[in-house]
């Protein structure tokens, strides 16, 4: 299957000499949700800007739908909708005017019915005649999304789409993103909210210091890099781990009242039943048992630390 976006050996060095992108290679599949994670200044926005044509790559090639973004910019840019990180709006325009402007700018014939549908899907219809200066931050964010969707793009870039929005709106946006993906739109989002990527992404890319340090399917990534823990709340505290279970990957916590067993989910045998048998033999009783799995946030932090 032809990738929707193909990035090959892309570098970006700003006039100041700062290298924002360092030999980036990446393929984005059609109709997937790709989350690009990375600390501040890692190069996420520069990468998006390079694909959208806002920033010129110093070297390398980017293709969208098989076409070069420089020589075939009319074709490639028509396919892309961008929601930038900053709430940049024409303060004195109305919602209707600014969204209609975006549609025209991207070469689409005026279509009031489609604009109406888009505004309704984003709960903006009753604000259509309001000036942007009168809207709340969350509403402005919705307008930015409406502008990006106004020309019916096949690819949507969301740069920190839920920064500064409330929980309800965030969940609405996740729902919208899933709906768009189901409609065949390819979505690339950058986010600081790791749970956002964990919630909606199909694949994850981690960028740091301009380098793409990992690209992986989300579930595979969490299985491969995630650790799972069995937590036992003991009836009596232990001063040390008994000899018959010393070979297990165990830790004592909470003044000896909690025994934690870390195991690999990808192994065929987790060792849990053997451990429980050994505990019984050793006469160690427990009053509660639970499991915990490392989140994408834990994985992300550990990855970023590892490459420091």
């Amino acid at each position: 299957m032809q990738p929707m976006i193909q990035i090959t050996d892309v570098n970006k060095v700003y006039a100041s000499g700062f290298q924002a992108l360092n030999n980036i290679n990446l393929s984005i599949k059609p109709a997937e949700i790709f989350a690009l994670l990375g600390p501040n200044g890692a190069g996420k926005t520069t990468l998006i800007s390079a694909i959208c044509g806002i920033v010129d790559a110093t070297s390398g090639q980017i293709t969208v739908d098989g076409k070069d973004i420089v020589s075939d910019y009319r074709h490639t840019r028509k396919l892309i909708g961008l929601v930038p990180q900053e709430l940049t709006t024409d303060a004195f325009e109305t919602v209707w005017t600014t969204v209609s402007f975006s549609r025209g700018l991207f070469g689409k014939k005026p279509d009031p019915a489609f604009i109406e549908k888009t505004l309704k899907s984003l709960s903006l219809w009753n604000k259509k005649d309001s000036r942007l200066i009168e809207l709340s931050g969350g509403m402005k964010r919705r307008v930015m999304i409406a502008k990006a969707l106004s020309h019916e793009p096949a690819i949507l870039f969301l740069d920190e789409p839920t920064a500064g929005v409330d929980v309800e709106l965030r969940k609405d946006m996740w729902q919208l993103v899933r709906q768009l993906r189901d409609d065949g739109v390819t979505i690339i989002l950058t986010t600081h909210y790791i749970e956002e990527a964990e919630e909606i992404a199909d694949r994850i890319g981690v960028i740091k210091n301009g380098q793409l340090i990992l690209v992986e399917d989300k579930i595979t990534l969490m299985n491969q890099l995630g650790t799972k823990q069995l937590i036992l709340d003991l009836k009596e505290p232990l001063t040390e781990i008994p000899a018959n279970i010393a070979d297990f990957n165990l830790q004592l916590k909470n003044d000896g009242l909690q025994l934690i067993y870390s195991y690999d989910t990808t192994e065929e045998h987790t060792g849990i039943s053997v451990l429980l048998q050994h505990l019984s033999v050793a006469g160690i009783a427990f009053k509660d048992i639970k499991t915990d799995q490392s989140s994408l946030e834990d994985i992300f932090v550990s990855l970023v630390r590892e490459t420091t």
Binding site: I54, R74, L82, P84, T89, S100, G104, L105, G107
Partner: protein, 253 residues
């Protein structure tokens, strides 16, 4: 040609005029009318004719040029500077539009606005001074070409400016003095020889002279000279804009 994009930019810019009608239309019409009253009717009645034209009528082309130049520059510079200032230029940079289409939208709208304003001022002038237009075609030609040329110049200023002060500095410090010293209120032949020579280096002088000729067939230089200077300045502006778009100066990182 992405005609929908050109139309979108053009309509967007024209809509701003509607929203700011006092600043865009009414204010310049009133201030120019004050010139007609003060210099045309009050002081003008005590000044003899210049080249067979009454003083009140003589200053009309220059005053129209003053508004045309300042409004062309201000409309076009503000039009492209404001998206840079607010950050909405990201949309323009990521849209499937060529540099020519962007220029057509912004400069077209700015030139349209200033041409309409000039025509309103011309109509207003009829209330204060007797007017005749000997060559309506050339009058319109000068009007439209000057509006386009100085809208292009304004577009360049809007790209160059990185704050509001820079946006104002060229129209205020350079254009207004050039118009005032370019023969708006007098014929260059009335100046001492030294100042006549200095005036030859003022490009606006040639525009006013050509424009005035289209009204009264009275000019300080020949029509061809005026047309050549205007064409030369237009070519310079086009070259500068071409370089800006090719290099991405002050637009693309």
């Amino acid at each position: 040609m992405n005609r929908y994009a050109v139309a979108a930019i053009y309509k967007f810019e024209m809509a701003r005029t509607k929203r700011t009608i006092f600043q865009s239309i009414i204010s310049p019409v009133i201030s120019t009318s004050l010139y007609f009253v003060v210099f045309g009717s009050a002081i003008g009645s005590r000044i003899t004719e210049i080249g067979g034209v009454s003083y009140g009528a003589f200053i009309v082309p220059g005053l129209i040029m003053l508004s045309l130049l300042t409004q062309s520059i201000s409309n076009a510079s503000f039009g492209i500077y404001f998206p840079k200032f607010t950050g909405t230029i990201y949309e323009l940079l990521s849209a499937p539009v060529s540099s020519f289409e962007v220029l057509l939208g912004y400069v077209g709208a700015a030139a349209t606005k200033s041409t309409l304003l000039a025509l309103i001022i011309l109509a207003t002038a009829h209330f204060f001074v007797p007017l005749e237009i000997a060559h309506p075609f050339w009058m319109l030609f000068f009007l439209v070409m000057t509006a386009i040329t100085f809208s292009l110049f304004g577009f360049i200023i809007g790209i160059w400016a990185d704050n509001f002060e820079k946006l104002q500095v060229i129209p205020l410090i350079i254009i207004t003095p050039l118009v005032f010293l370019g023969g708006t209120f007098y014929s260059v032949s009335m100046l001492p020889p030294f100042w006549q020579t200095v005036t030859q280096f003022n490009p606006v002088f040639y525009l006013i002279s050509g424009f005035r000729w289209s009204f009264y067939e009275v000019a300080d230089v020949s029509l061809i000279t005026s047309l050549c200077v205007m064409g030369g300045f237009l070519a310079l502006c086009l070259l500068a804009v071409t370089w800006i778009f090719k290099s991405g100066y002050q637009i693309r990182k």
